[in-house]
Symmetry: C2
Subunit: 363 residues, 2 copies
Amino acid sequence: MAEQEQSYVRIEEEPLKQLVVELLKHYRVPENDAQIVSDVLVTADLRGIESHGVSRLLSYYISRLKTGYMKAEPAVKITANQGATFQVDADNGLGHPPSYRAMEKCLDLAEKYGVGLGSVKNSNHFGIAGYYSMMAIERGMIGICLSNAQPAILPTYARQKHLGTNPISVAAPAGDKLPFVLDMATSIVPLGKIQVSARKNISIAEGWGADHTGYTSTNPAAVLEGGGLYPLGGPAETAGYKGYGLAAVVDIFSGVLSGSGFLTSVLNPLKNDDPCQVGHFMAVVKINAFMEEEVFKNRMDAFIEELKTASKMEGQKEIFVAGEKEFYTWEENRQKGVPVLENVWEELTVLCRELNVSMPEPL
Amino acid sequence: MAEQEQSYVRIEEEPLKQLVVELLKHYRVPENDAQIVSDVLVTADLRGIESHGVSRLLSYYISRLKTGYMKAEPAVKITANQGATFQVDADNGLGHPPSYRAMEKCLDLAEKYGVGLGSVKNSNHFGIAGYYSMMAIERGMIGICLSNAQPAILPTYARQKHLGTNPISVAAPAGDKLPFVLDMATSIVPLGKIQVSARKNISIAEGWGADHTGYTSTNPAAVLEGGGLYPLGGPAETAGYKGYGLAAVVDIFSGVLSGSGFLTSVLNPLKNDDPCQVGHFMAVVKINAFMEEEVFKNRMDAFIEELKTASKMEGQKEIFVAGEKEFYTWEENRQKGVPVLENVWEELTVLCRELNVSMPEPL
């Protein structure tokens, strides 16, 4: 979520990507891996999802590489492999490279079997789930990506967090229209929204989160300290048990079935020395196994057209399809340069000076 | 949702199933098909989902068989078949038999490939999605079932309904614990809840549905007549766009990819003579392709145990896992007899008298 009140610098896309690669290489991340991480992070910033972009390079990744809490050169291996399915052990390395390669393998399997499924265990935070699901679009297939995360969500009727914000992403190609890209946390709002309100000392809406009693609180500090986020749907009265169920499904695939951590055994990267035990799950469906790709794309265009031209609520100018706003933001940021929060850029400047790495000039 | 204010008769399970079979056979439905439909409907009633049970036998199914709007003896055929995937054309017959058989085929494919995927097009309402996903549990696999339905949900910022209540069901086996069975509509509440409030002339909660303006209304009649249900999450402010996105994903798989109707081309069975064009999508994942079934079941037990023993909100006695309440209801109804709404039983009595079909006595 863009935090409008903060200020940004804008950096050209390629030099920014190269800077991220250089910094990761400095901490012994192999070049190929570093390029994948860099592309995932900068893509998040381009799409306007700054909470998952370069702003996490130091806090989530480099800090753990520095301490050795996360391995720069993990021995990633395939630990199960049957038919159209496989399981990867990421050996506590960065989450992005094994996820990228797992998605590539799903694409190859789907080419052959009509569907490919893969899980990644013993991993770490992998950026935006949408990056991986979108990899399928270019090959004319439908991509799905799930991941668990450290506890943030209260199960319905509980007063402590047990489930991560466990994202679900599904991407499907269209023809003349923009692709459909759902990329959503199963919490009602992202944690970042609560953090921003806490910093600004303003109330949050009812039903976003709970304090230590499990009941809704409009005090962001109380939600951050004691309670947690409600699942999509909010409290039980507004069907929050459905969001809770969806977050659980994501954890069953990403954590239980993958052989990784699940629920509270997935650790917060900012607060723990031990491996975070994050798990991911990805799937690809080959459209051609069901109908010709062109027919599907035309049908998607009709699907999107019906939604875009639906009668609008008074005062609303546009109905959006999942991912659409992010594509507009992407387009804009490609032209204007990648927005990086000023304080993040300052942190990077300090680090680069220390390491004697040269930086691009802001635009 | 149980409508507590209404009265029920209780009928023994097997004689009730046999009655449903007899009635369907009277309208030329083949015995094997009739048995599947009967089992799906009575299972819904046993699990306490009366809105999808025997109460729909006349309105949704027999009425359309009688008029020929739905075929009793459709020529169901497989229209695509590649690797671990297939597509079925249900030829405008009852939705339950081709869905049951598609799920069986997914199970066989998953046995071989680790995963099986199938779609069903040109179908009709198939009862509860959870029936089909649960078929996987008995075989030690994970089942997924999706379906689209006639428009009921408003896309975010729209004021007319374009998406069905498009259910998502995921079922996974556990060891000593009850299986995990999520079976949820992607609307915030079921349509039935609004209808009950309208009949009782009482207000509904804010955020459940909208009147013809697209804005929330507490008047159930205004929601039923002009507007529609909000997706899971409610209006945009409480992340309803996520529920809208999920409903769209279900329609992309069940409708667009299956080759069936989608959005407003899926018709309401109570209001149309034309084929309803409902589409379904099912998937099975073989646990053994990822880890030993016993290991998975032990991990599921630990997953469920953590949720069940989490600290509860004050005033709450129990934290539930998806499907758990329905298993308790099932157990109770198996002992007491299947609950059938009194007015539904009266309608059936009239029909049976007309057709000279004998009925079981209520318990």
